[in-house]
């Protein structure tokens, strides 16, 4: 089937807002339906509306890779696949796309670049580091969204082939260690950068408190998180400060 370049472009643009109506009933479903709709417009009259309705059913995955499911489902509709097969395809893609996207982006590309940016700021790069982060991150972001939509449209119901792409496997293998190294490298530099204006006792208090909070977060990760600990400690510091007057 000839690629529908205009329709693919419109679908890609809509994919940037795929989580716009995020909800607990259909999760990304409505956004997926909106993104898929331009790819369904040249279906025959009797097929178009049922396909649009199917596109808006429950769906959940990593937002950057949702295009893979959008392209694959639209292609399967064009290929005349039975409705229940298309529903099964969408259901089958939720887990793998979510897991792959989380490892690739949330636990790889994003913290890798964030760690490098923190380190660069701590070493004096200033706002240039932040501008670099935005540019480099979004080159990967847009490329991943475009690849996903194209791969979904190309492979249709055989989209699992795309998920085993050597490029993806190599990226996963590289991003894990790179992210771990970058964030590890950034942490001591961030500590130094943030504690520079503190006197010696303030630096010591920060180091000891950081150690204790880290242990608490590791010990009770089911109940505690960074926000709760930070708010709790701030409240204690405020009370101590007010008594200190």
């Amino acid at each position: 089937m000839a690629p529908l370049k205009g329709a693919l472009g419109r679908a890609l643009l809509r994919l940037f807002a795929v989580q716009g109506s995020y909800n607990y009933e259909r999760m990304l479903g409505v956004g997926v339906g909106v993104a898929e709709e331009p790819l369904l417009r040249d279906l025959a009259d009797g097929k178009y509306r049922p396909a649009v309705a199917r596109g808006a059913h429950f769906f959940n995955s990593h937002p950057y890779l949702t295009g893979l499911a959008v392209g694959a489902a639209a292609r399967a509709e064009h290929d005349g696949a039975p409705p229940d097969q298309i529903e099964r395809l969408r259901e089958a893609l939720c887990g793998p796309l979510g897991s792959l996207g989380d490892r690739l982006v949330w636990a790889g590309w994003l913290p890798l670049l964030s760690g490098l940016t923190i380190a660069a700021i701590a070493l004096g790069a200033g706002w240039f580091a932040v501008a670099g982060f935005l540019i480099v991150y979004n080159i990967g972001h847009v490329a991943l969204r475009w690849w996903a939509l194209n791969a979904g449209w190309t492979y249709g119901a055989r989209v699992s082939v795309a998920l085993h792409s050597p490029m993806l496997q190599k990226a996963l293998a590289l991003l894990g260690p790179a992210m771990a190294f970058a964030v590890g490298f950034a942490l001591p530099l961030a500590a130094r950068f943030l504690a520079v204006p503190f006197p010696r006792w303030g630096q010591l208090a920060a180091v000891v408190t950081a150690g204790l909070v880290f242990l608490a977060l590791r010990w009770r990760s089911d109940r505690l998180n960074g926000l709760r600990m930070a708010l709790g400690l701030s409240a204690v510091a405020l009370v101590v400060g007010l008594i200190w007057q």
Binding site: F16, A17, Q19, G20, S21, Y22, N23, Y24, E25, R26, V30, G31, V34, E37, R49, A51, V52, A53, W106, P111, I118, I121, G126, W127, V130, L134, Y137, N138, H141, G176, P177, A178, A180, F181, V183, G184, L187, L189, A190, A191, R192, F193, A195, P197, G202, A206, T209, A210, V213, R218, S221, N225, G226, L227, A230, L231, S234, A237, G241, W244
Partner: protein, 233 residues
């Protein structure tokens, strides 16, 4: 906090864009505290404060893995409010850091609650529109979706407004009390917030790294970072 009206409007617009970017559109990571804080600092003509608070909240952000329907605080508009607070705080960067972080933490909590509330509201609206959606009417589908986007924009504007009001209240309510005794209470506040950020950053990263081979890379990075930090002293 007395800021010119055009600066307040710029902060409100920026906070709203940042809030919408987190989930809805376009997820280009202007919602990351590093970016949100730096641009807020640029709007206020105080980029160093934006960078400093951006790093604090970026570290706290490592604690969050936004998978599935997990609930999390919203640090983007929170960082904007934090930078506005710190910029206007009297008595140096330590007081600004502590006071700004405190305002930011409360705003982040409010932001997280509103995200959950919006998702529940969207669920009710989608449920009510189920029959229309099942008819395959593309116009109805787009209306439901765009409605969600607009509600998220309103939500982000509301959260940023709350943050800016807190920033406005922080100085008269807290700055004086924290500045006594050579600012030691302010220093204590800043130290515990920085500590919480570093701890959350380390704990969050270790959750991602796990106990496999990547742990060695994390240790190697940590060692390298420590060497550079010591060398820079």
């Amino acid at each position: 906090m007395i800021l010119p009206i055009e600066v307040l409007i710029a902060l409100l617009v920026w906070g709203t864009l940042v809030g919408v970017d987190l989930v809805s559109l376009p997820q280009m990571m202007i919602a990351r505290p590093l970016v949100a804080g730096t641009v807020a600092g640029a709007i206020l003509g105080d980029i160093p404060t934006g960078l400093r608070l951006g790093v604090v909240f970026e570290l706290l952000q490592y604690d969050i893995l936004p998978v599935g329907a997990v609930r999390y605080p919203e640090y983007g508009p929170a960082t904007v409010a934090a930078v506005a607070t710190a910029h206007a705080a009297p008595g140096g960067e330590v007081l600004g850091l502590g006071l700004g972080a405190l305002v930011g933490l409360v705003t982040a909590l409010v932001g997280g609650v509103t995200i959950n509330g919006l998702r529940r509201l969207n669920s009710r609206i989608v449920h009510a529109a189920a029959a229309t959606l099942e008819s395959g009417d593309p116009g109805a589908l787009v209306r439901v979706h765009v409605g969600g986007l607009l509600r998220d924009g309103l939500r982000a504007a509301l959260v940023t407004s709350v943050g800016l009001v807190l920033a406005w209240l922080a100085r008269p309510l807290l700055a004086g009390a924290l500045a006594v005794r050579d600012g030691r209470p302010a220093l204590l506040l800043a130290a515990v917030v920085v500590a919480a950020g570093l701890a959350a950053g380390a704990a969050g990263t270790l959750r991602l790294v796990g106990t496999g081979p990547n742990l060695k890379w994390f240790a190697a990075g940590l060692g390298g970072g420590l060497l550079v930090a010591v060398w820079l002293r």
